[in-house]
């Protein structure tokens, strides 16, 4: 495995001017537009498309065998949510969907500032499932331009 090019990370930090850093990552949306966009017919036994939610952990997974590499999931994520799903450059199959590191997220463990925590979130958070540009715009307005 590689050592540290953040362009390959599931968490990508986008920096803005005035300074706001937004860590962007898959938020495992409750209504999962990515799964909805998956055109693969549900398996008659499990009811799963190629992209499906693991009911036990809540994580969204991709069945690589059945995945067509059409990129619909990435497109849905980009258009409707945060744009965290990035297709593999060769197979075009979705990557960087958060798997919560088997219940012990490394990003939370390694954040030196304790800024990240692993908690159950709701769909109603202020910045829930917003793309980095939109969060940055809100924060810049809040922090830097409120006095202007």
């Amino acid at each position: 495995m590689g050592l540290g090019n953040p362009n390959f990370s599931n968490v990508i930090v986008y920096s803005f001017n005035p300074p706001v850093d937004i860590p962007n990552r898959c938020v495992l949306c409750g209504d999962a537009p990515c799964i909805e966009a998956c055109p693969v017919s549900p398996d008659p036994v499990t009811g799963r498309k190629a992209l499906y939610r693991d009911e036990k952990t809540g994580v969204i997974k991709n069945d690589k065998e059945r995945c067509l590499g059409c990129g619909s999931c990435a497109m849905a994520c980009k258009q409707k949510r945060v744009g965290a799903i990035i297709p593999n450059p060769e197979t075009n199959k979705p990557e960087r969907i958060c798997n919560l590191c088997e219940g012990d997220p490394a990003c939370v463990k390694y954040c030196p500032f304790g800024a990240l925590s692993y908690i159950k979130g709701g769909l109603d958070g202020r910045h829930y499932a917003l793309p980095p540009e939109k969060i940055a715009y809100q924060l810049i307005k809040l922090w830097y331009y409120h006095r202007k």
Partner: protein, 605 residues
């Protein structure tokens, strides 16, 4: 041949020939000079074969060097060192018209790691473009692109405009402002609109090449020699940082913590270095800024310190301005040194200096000198083009900063630095022209510390506060500047963390002794470069102010240095360095011991 821990590749761009090529590194050089400042100086040495090269000529290389730590998730490994021949410095006498020192200027942020992600151990720019260009690097795709529409743009605006142009926020960028374009001798190179490589005129050299910016993005990763060992060492270092005693101080105040402590110690540059204590420092110190200015802490790549403080002016004529600072250097040079105690006004000055792309330190020093000359009647309002440069006058300071950046009227002379100003103004103004070898001193004052005097006087890039107060610390610092990690974080690595990392990355056995020896090698090569240009012992001096005018206020009232003490400490310094005491020429024995035979051949004369 592969060199473990490195790509072995330097990207070389010739702007005159519009030619892009790869310069191969030798394993000998990477081992002997590490990377960053050290390897950059070696490349400079190889490229500049003769003394007296005009720093603004196309032949002067502008070298961007990350280090072997860059591109790994090592705490604070965010730095990039920019090395070139300085357009700011000069010796007292030399047979070469364009004699100057080399310079190395270092900045944090995200650029250093990204150079390594793109697959290079460094970038060398030579030549000169016909019209303004910027350099586009996306892994192996390297292009020289037209930048006419960006020429003249200030840095904050450009920082946003270039991302719009590229349409990809993941590009890391560095660029010059109007000051660099107009060849102000102490122009800086900016990154993220607030981080800068300011010292020695690296932005001026970039401007002389008509290079507005470098944009870079990469999808590669450097490899380490021993992966398992590296991961283990990294875990140890992460733990060590958690227990680093100064971590919380860095995180809360950054260098701004020193504004008050240094003032209390009589070691702050106040009123053009006339005093060491600023009676109104509480108004601009870290605590005031925390209450009235700062919004968030920001970290450079992988850094747990986050010493960058972003602030916004809340009220008054400058309301709405956002920028980082004041830090110790910016708050002292444009605050205490000019008797500015208006925190919001100071913030405006700092933002403007960065926006034009000037060095914060030299700019504050130059204006401080003119304020004193004006107060003493050596110059009048006419000389200053009607700008009333009285102590603490923020509006006048702002007007003058603009003059410098565009080299308008008196700004043209002021753009050449305090040494040039002093020789024009004449009389005994040299006594308070606070520079060494033509580079302005930084925010640490000298009266109270003999080793601070040594630090400034013996620096190879002209006055430098980061040079080190002893031979050992100078050597250690030179090696530290070569790995890619940050000086401020050195204490967090634990006793052997840095050497363990270097060993696991490069496969060579590193320890403190070898590390310091390497630093000594780098320092001596720099010295040889300067010696060849004509710098001698008479250049290793500081202005009379520190020896003849004792401090008159503060807890260190009465403090002053003695000439004989300075001479003595310098005698010992050269002796211990293995350099000739009269000429400062490094000895053959020393250079051979360090494996610098090639440098001896150049200076033996």
């Amino acid at each position: 041949m592969t060199i473990l821990g490195y790509y072995g590749k330097i990207l070389e761009v010739d702007l005159t020939k519009e030619k892009i090529s790869i310069l191969s590194l030798s394993e000998e050089d990477t081992y002997k000079f590490i990377g960053g400042r050290g390897l950059g100086v070696k490349i400079l040495w190889d490229k500049v074969k003769k003394p007296g090269l005009d720093p603004l000529s196309p032949e002067n290389p502008l070298i961007f060097m990350p280090g072997p730590f860059s591109g790994f998730p090592i705490p604070s490994a965010s730095r990039v060192c920019i090395i070139t021949k300085s357009p700011l410095t000069s010796p007292i006498k030399s047979k070469y018209k364009f004699a100057s020192t080399l310079t190395y200027s270092n900045m944090g942020g995200f650029l250093g790691p990204e150079i390594r992600f793109a697959g290079y151990d460094g970038i060398v720019i030579i030549g000169k473009a016909v019209s303004p260009v910027y350099l586009y690097i996306n892994d192996d795709k390297v292009e020289i692109r037209d930048a006419k529409k960006f020429w003249g743009m200030k840095t904050n605006e450009f920082d946003k405009a270039i991302i719009d142009e590229l349409g990809d926020r993941r590009f890391k960028t560095c660029y010059i402002g109007p000051a660099g374009e107009n060849l102000v001798r102490y122009a800086s190179i900016l990154h993220t609109s607030a981080r800068g490589a300011g010292r020695g005129g690296v932005g001026c050299v970039m401007g002389s090449k008509k290079l507005k910016a470098i944009v870079i993005k990469g999808s590669k990763m450097p490899e380490v020699a021993d992966h398992e060992r590296f991961i283990n060492v990294l875990e140890e270092i992460r733990k060590s940082f958690k227990n680093y005693s100064r971590l919380q101080r860095w995180r809360r105040y950054g260098t701004a913590a020193a504004l008050i402590s240094s003032s209390d110690a009589g070691s702050q540059a106040v009123k053009n270095y006339r005093e060491g204590t600023f009676l109104e420092v509480d108004k601009i110190g870290g605590i005031a800024a925390e209450q009235k200015l700062w919004i968030r802490d920001y970290a450079c790549y992988c850094c747990p310190l986050a010493c960058h403080k972003a602030g916004v002016v809340r009220s008054g004529p400058y309301a709405g301005i956002h920028h980082d600072g004041p830090e110790y250097e910016t708050g002292t040079m444009l605050g205490a040194n000019l008797l500015v105690s208006d925190l919001y006004g100071l913030m405006k000055e700092i933002a403007e200096v960065d926006d034009y792309g000037l060095d914060q330190i030299s700019t504050g020093n130059v204006i401080g000198f003119l304020m004193e000359a004006y107060e003493k009647g050596y110059i009048d309002l006419k000389f200053l083009d009607g700008i009333d440069l009285k102590w603490g006058n923020v509006e006048a300071i702002l007007a003058f900063i603009k003059k410098i950046a565009y080299r308008e009227g008196v700004g043209d002379l002021a753009s050449k630095g305090v040494k040039a100003l002093s020789s024009k103004i004449g009389k005994d103004s040299y006594k308070f022209a606070i520079h060494c070898k033509g580079q302005e001193l930084a925010a640490w004052n000298v009266h109270v510390s003999l080793t601070q005097a040594l630090c400034y006087a013996t620096s190879n890039r002209g006055a430098c506060h980061l040079n080190g107060h002893s031979i050992r610390s100078q050597n250690f610092a030179a090696a530290t500047d070569s790995t890619g990690h940050c000086r401020f974080a050195t204490g967090g690595f634990g006793k052997n963390g840095i050497f363990e990392l270097l060993s696991s990355i490069t496969g060579h056995d590193w320890n403190r002794k070898i590390f310091e020896k390497t630093g000594e090698r780098i320092f001596n090569l720099e010295k040889c470069f300067n010696y060849r240009e004509g710098f001698r012992r008479e250049d290793d001096v500081l202005p009379p102010r520190f020896f003849e005018e004792p401090l008159t206020i503060g807890p260190k009232k009465g403090a002053v240095l003695k000439y004989e003490d300075f001479e003595k400490i310098m005698d010992n310094y050269y002796k211990e360095r293995g350099w000739n005491m009269k000429t400062t020429k490094p000895s053959k024995e020393k250079l051979y011991e360090l494996g610098l035979e090639f440098a001896w051949n150049e200076i033996k004369g």
